[in-house]
Symmetry: C3
Subunit: 132 residues, 3 copies
């Protein structure tokens, strides 16, 4: 009946901001979890403008909430993409980043700009669910 | 003989624009299909400048043609990255997007700019071939 | 004891630039290797400003060193993302690219800008370790 449907699972959990936009916050596919871009938004999905630190921490809180729905934590992230709006925030970005991640760090690419000027930070990740 | 060659498959199919550029439109690796950035180009790979809607629809048509070569449809896309040149096109982007994708939506990140000012939209995806 | 630790492996090898920044140059997860953004940096991780060609070649040398630690070469790359700071360098980028990659080419997306204006090129990749 559903023989042509991909084996994916949309994960929802408490604390994940709702959104009227068409994306799955996380989509689980076999052993992998793909997480949509997370930014500084409140529970209703509205942007919360803040300092870089405030936006970064709120993005990470949202990322953690999304991962939690799959039973995962930040340490299960294997690849991460960061979008930092202003190059002047890069040192603070790297300093704050170490509060959330530790070795073995995810593979990471950091891009500057690309956010349309409305937010200061966004992050998306790929996580891996298998434990050893 | 080919013992050190990765197990990948370049997929071609009717309707996929040709290009003189060095990329595989889709590369299949085990159960995954990686699709190169698709934009508003014609069958010969030449850019077709159009309204945002025109460029978006042509990009999606090209994406569908690429996926079709692997026996896949848009609903097999699990992760998608959109590049929208101008922030003013974001509302139309989200409206049009819903014509092509439905729940469970792919994980998605949308970036603004990054296209060098020559095109209005580009999309790349990862798709998953296993069916349930 | 480590039952909740993801099965990842940080790979290091000779020739990989050291960095004070929080990322794993490559992270291996089962059959996949995720490589962090590679740019024109020296062995100590310091940016080497150069012509586009010089920066591109140094980025590729660093990418090759990172892959080598996992026993891989450029031909094991299945998906590649290029960030070219200036659109005027795109023709040279495509010309040089063919010196490093051959068919079957990786799936590829090329973005313009997003580098904060300090470097001319950056590349990140996903590679696949299984051989046929």
């Amino acid at each position: 009946m559903h023989s042509n449907v991909p084996r994916v699972k949309v994960i929802s959990s408490e604390g994940v901001p709702t959104s009227h936009l068409p994306f799955s916050p996380p989509l689980q596919v076999d052993d992998w979890v793909f997480v949509s871009g997370q930014a500084s938004v409140d529970a209703a999905g509205q942007i919360v403008h803040d300092t870089f630190e405030g936006e970064f921490r709120r993005s990470m809180d949202n990322l953690k909430a999304v991962l939690q729905g799959a039973g995962l934590e930040l340490r299960h992230v294997v690849q991460l993409r960061s979008y930092v709006d202003s190059p002047k925030d890069l040192p603070e970005y790297n300093r704050l980043y170490r509060e959330y991640f530790s070795e073995p760090f995810p593979a990471r690419t950091t891009l500057v700009g690309c956010l349309g000027g409305t937010i200061k930070y966004e992050v998306d990740v790929t996580a891996y669910t298998k434990k050893r």
